[in-house]
């Protein structure tokens, strides 16, 4: 008697649900007569993979023998199927949106079977485009978080790999995973990352850069404080060093921290080359950065205030190239810098092929014409082109943007206060960098706090036999690390 009334209630609720669902756009519904009563099947057209449904579910429902849904479940080759007795309307709605198919059978208990058949639209794993390297692995992350985690699990197939999953975003409910290796990574770093992600109050997380910006230690800094990479090999390597990686569903860029300023200038290719070559390239990159930041402001400062510094022979060349130019050096420099930024921005917004053409047109035609017309001097044109080139050597895109940005205030202060102004501005940047932290760890390490042991992989990269300790920056739980050639020492 009791059972019968409850069955009636379930039936009544189902009728109500069906009535609601039929009003929805794209809701498909079938029913089928069975010995034990009618079977109802419904799903949302856009959310479900029709191929799987037709291949695995529909034939089995008709052809196989079963008394109730529990038996049917055994015939269906999918994991994460759920048997429910009388779920609320909301739950059914939620599941349908996520790509579940529901099967309702009258007069049995449990009466609902939910089968996940989401439409998987994944991009294939491709070669890295932003951080391309000639040698080494060529796997880049994709948008799907499970694929990305899988790429890492393949490289680090150890039980210590810990993945902490969280949901962020009041609307998007994006899956975020904090990954680290137990026993190597410092608990405190992992907890900091998890806690900060939990504290994020945002309605949507579209990309990992949303997380990068919201959990940054100093949100008002032009410098990125977490490194983002699309290379799975890089993430695997830094996890083994004891760092923490943050995966965000829907983003092909994975964040890692705690990081340092110098890490932004180390390309992962450095580890695939002989240590001498790698160190030389790294030094070149660092020099390129300093050159890129300083050379135009120096040009402006010297030509505006201190031309005595320039030796006479060089001064003749400089003055001669500037005789036609009607502007002060700072305007000349800003106009040219602006032109370069325009070219870059236009190139970035256009499809690759047109972008290349724009680059050639801009570089050759505008450049030559500007010099011939007497709007800029050709010395400055060379200087600025080299500075732009220098900023592009930075392997991390976000950092190279920062480098280009901080040039402009330096230009202006050089015009006003000359060399002293430039020095003071550099001091501002220096103090700012000293104040920055990444997941609570100093950003300017190993220079300050001075950690000589971390210099083995900073300005230069020493051979693997010397990389016998994990960086102190991340406070690894296990400092010692097995060395490649122990006998060499």
């Amino acid at each position: 008697m009791n059972k019968k009334t409850s069955q009636k209630r379930v039936q009544r609720d189902f009728d109500k649900l069906l009535h609601e669902l039929k009003k929805k756009d794209g809701f498909l519904y079938y029913n089928l007569n069975h010995d034990n009563g009618t079977i109802h099947l419904g799903y949302l057209k856009t959310a479900v993979d029709p191929e799987k449904l037709e291949k695995y579910i529909l034939p089995r429902m008709q052809e196989y023998m079963y008394k109730d849904l529990t038996e049917l479940k055994d015939h269906i080759p999918f994991t994460k199927t759920e048997l429910l007795d009388n779920p609320g309307q909301n739950e059914i709605h939620e599941k349908l949106v996520k790509g579940f198919v529901f099967i309702y059978m009258e007069n049995v208990s449990p009466s609902y079977l939910l089968i996940p058949l989401p439409l998987d639209e994944k991009r294939q794993v491709t070669i890295p485009e932003v951080e391309f390297s000639v040698v080494g692995p060529k796997e880049a992350f994709v948008e799907d978080i499970d694929t990305n985690l899988n790429l890492i699990r393949k490289r680090l197939a150890i039980p210590e790999l810990s993945v902490k999953k969280l949901k962020v975003g009041t609307i998007t409910k994006t899956e975020v995973a904090v990954v680290s290796i137990d026993g190597i990574a410092d608990e405190e770093n992992v907890n900091t990352a998890v806690q900060r992600i939990k504290d994020v109050e945002i309605d949507q997380v579209i990309d990992s850069s949303f997380i990068q910006q919201t959990i940054a230690d100093n949100k008002n800094s032009p410098f990125p404080q977490l490194l983002d990479t699309e290379r799975s090999d890089r993430i695997a390597a830094v996890l083994a060093e004891g760092k923490v990686a943050i995966f965000v569903d829907g983003s092909p860029h994975v964040l890692l921290g705690p990081t340092t300023l110098i890490e932004f200038f180390s390309a992962f290719e450095d580890y695939f080359l002989n240590w001498m070559t790698a160190s030389a390239f790294r030094m070149i990159r660092l020099i390129a950065v300093f050159f890129s930041i300083l050379v135009t402001p120096l040009y402006v400062a010297i030509l505006t205030h201190h031309f005595e510094i320039v030796p006479q022979t060089l001064l003749v060349t400089l003055v001669h190239s500037r005789t036609q130019v009607p502007f002060p050096p700072v305007m000349e420099a800003i106009i040219l810098e602006f032109t370069i930024e325009l070219l870059r921005e236009a190139g970035a917004r256009l499809p690759t092929k047109i972008g290349q053409t724009i680059g050639i047109v801009g570089g050759i035609v505008i450049g030559t014409a500007a010099v011939e017309a007497g709007l800029t001097s050709n010395v400055l044109l060379i200087v600025i082109a080299l500075a732009a080139l220098g900023s592009f050597t930075t392997p991390v895109y976000k950092m190279s943007n920062t480098i280009r940005l901080i040039r402009f205030p330096l230009l202006i202060i050089s015009h006003v206060y000359g060399l002293i102004g430039l020095t003071v501005a550099i001091a501002y940047i220096m103090v700012h960098l000293l104040r920055l932290t990444s997941l609570g760890r100093p950003f300017f390490a190993p220079i300050f706090p001075f950690r000589p042991q971390d210099f083995k992989d900073a300005l230069i990269r020493l051979p693997f036999s010397k990389q016998n300790k994990r960086p102190f920056q991340v406070r690894p739980s296990k400092v010692k690390r097995p060395v490649a050639n122990e006998n060499d020492k």
Binding site: I420, G421, V424
Partner: protein
Amino acid sequence: MISRDDKVSGLMVFFLISASQIGVGYLGFQSIINKYAGHDAWISIIIAGIGISIIIWTMYQMLKNDEQGDIIAIHQLTYGKWIGNFLTLIFTIYLLLMATVVLRTYIEIVQVWMFPHLKVWAMLLLLLPLIYYTISDQFRIVVGVCFLGIVYPFFLNLTLFFPLNYADITYILPIMDHTITEIMQSSSLAVLNFMGISALLVFYPFIQESHKSQKYAHYGNFYTTGLYLAVCLIAYVFYNQSELEEVIWATLGLWKIIEMPFMERFEFFGIATLFFTILSNVVLFMWASARVIHRTFGVAHKKAAVVLLIILFIACVIFSGREGVNILNDTAGKIGLVLLFIYIPVLFVINFIRRKVRKDVS
């Protein structure tokens, strides 16, 4: 209590001590200290260095025995709360004076060598926010600036080899041509360039295992002494004594003769690079004085910093011209001499007796 995060390693004492000592003096002390000892004045630098080492030892003896280990605690223990705080206040004024001397002298150099029409207040408006930005956060930022203030301008020392081409060793011969008294008198002038160590009395509790850091403090002092000695000797073999009387900034003069294919007038770069040393000097003194005010009167550190920076601004604007700068330097030198070599030993003795008495009572 000072949190563990805020403390810095013992090695940093080396940089803190050197950074607190090396300042504007580096650019022109050679023609000041030779007033009594003439070409033998380089010996007085060694004597001054040794004297300072003794003072560092004295300071450590006092600091080691105190739990909180800074000037405020020592003063309060020695003289009681009211007189102690009063003396601490005078000490703060002295720190502030040091910052003013360094900053104002540097601006003077910039005015003379680079921008004759630069207004002092305009330069200060550029610098004071930077100083505030440095001292308003943790102490480790100040240490970082001091560290870079020693490491980064290090390459300037290499440039001193250029003038050796024109050196004449006979300028400093015969050695010990002056009496001990004359050399000691010159030493008392040289001390101005070592005076910054009094900041040690404030930052001591911020050092990890501070009682073990004494050797680094001495190394820092040795480094400064060695550097001054080298700069002084090079200047003395480059200029003869009558030339030195006319030169105000001897080191800048040494830089002037450096020529490279892409650069002349190296002193422009020298002055600009030296800014990092000046900055570390000033921020250390300003941080120390803000810290003392904070500890003594319980004013928030940031508020204290703002007030002190305003005072610094006013002081720098008031003392104008070459005469003003000279007055500042002379006063600071005299006060510093009294503080380091008379007050600190006296304080040490009184403090020692006071501790003994207290121990006996308890």
